[in-house]
């Protein structure tokens, strides 16, 4: 068995189209950088574009689109690892910003 099987039927045209899409998305990121918006808005928009770019790379450059089982394995495993990491980050957030819900209660009283 070779891993060449999933690539059958996919021409170089598809790779080129994905490449051009990624170049355009990278260009959009640079365009966002020059918009007159807040850093938070800029971060949100750039992150959305980066996630789309990353998704395209994963699906078409790394051929996850051709293997459903592996695709779900990678998504579930990666998201679990990234969520697991948040266990520590919540502590960091509390150290820098205080207890989030406690602060909301104080402000609303």
């Amino acid at each position: 068995m070779t891993t060449a099987e999933p690539q059958k039927g996919n021409g170089i045209g598809k790779d080129l189209a994905v490449y051009v899409c990624m170049l355009v998305l990278a260009g959009i990121q640079f365009f966002i950088a020059f918009q007159d918006i807040t850093a938070a808005q800029m971060f949100e928009r750039m992150l959305i574009v980066a996630i789309i770019e990353g998704g395209l790379a994963l699906l078409f450059f790394m051929h996850l689109a051709d293997n459903r089982g592996l695709r779900w394995f990678v998504i579930i495993f990666t998201v679990s690892v990234l969520l697991g990491m948040q266990y520590g980050w919540t502590d960091s957030s509390r150290l820098t910003n205080g207890v989030p819900w406690g602060r909301v209660n104080v402000n609303t009283q």
């Binding site: 891993t3 990624m22 990121q29 640079f30 966002i32 950088a33 971060f43 750039m46 790379a57």
Partner: protein, 207 residues
């Protein structure tokens, strides 16, 4: 353990290998697991950078030009395309073409690394080091050099891997699948750059 046992175990192992997980060969699966682990490494660095940036008042925005980083992005994205062509040629059985495209990818990677180092030298020339910079909090240059340095380390490793695997493929020791596995790593390096550029460079662009 008797020879018969060894043979039996050998058969059972071969049987298990005949049906790999998700129809993916073991080496490719190992690369995917490495990529997931490395995703956690980069995510850790980028999230930590986000927290530091958010918690630090008057975060410096020293970048004036996007020319260099735009060129670096273009080169790295293009190298992903050349890597795809190399994998395609390798699976088609055209060794000389596949080898040529692998080397073109490695050259693109080297060009990216040179531009990266040139940018580092410019910043160092302006007085930025790992623990100091002239624009305010030293955390800026610590984060910048740590994150981009980690990525540059991956690019350098990728270039070495491309050359080594390419030569061994040319010599007949490696197969097309090995080229594809190296390609997975190279695409991952490209993928990480898509997050490093906006978070580390573009958000720190002076207006």
């Amino acid at each position: 353990m008797s020879q018969a046992d060894l043979t039996m175990h050998g058969h059972s192992t071969a049987g298990a290998m005949a049906e790999p997980t998700f129809s993916v060969p073991a080496k490719k699966m190992a690369m995917w697991l490495f990529i997931i682990a490395d995703t956690a490494t980069f995510a850790g660095c980028l999230v930590a950078y986000g927290f530091i940036r958010n918690a630090t008042p008057n975060w410096p925005r020293p970048f004036h030009s996007i020319t260099n980083v735009a060129l670096m992005t273009f080169i790295l994205l293009t190298s992903s395309l050349t890597m795809l062509i190399a994998v395609r040629e390798a699976h088609a059985g055209d060794k000389p073409k596949a080898f040529r495209w692998i080397m073109i990818t490695a050259v693109a990677g080297a060009l990216f690394a040179i531009l990266h180092i040139r940018e580092w030298m410019n910043m160092i020339g302006e007085g930025a080091t790992l623990f100091h910079n002239p624009w305010g909090t030293p955390l800026f240059s610590s984060c910048f050099f740590a994150i981009t340095g980690l990525h540059l380390l991956h690019v350098t490793g990728g270039i070495i891997a491309l050359i080594a695997v390419g030569i061994r493929y040319q010599g007949g020791r490696y197969k097309a699948d090995d080229i594809e596995i190296t390609g997975l790593y190279w695409h991952f390096v490209d993928l990480v750059w898509m997050f490093v550029v906006p978070l580390v460079y573009l958000l720190n662009l002076s207006h």
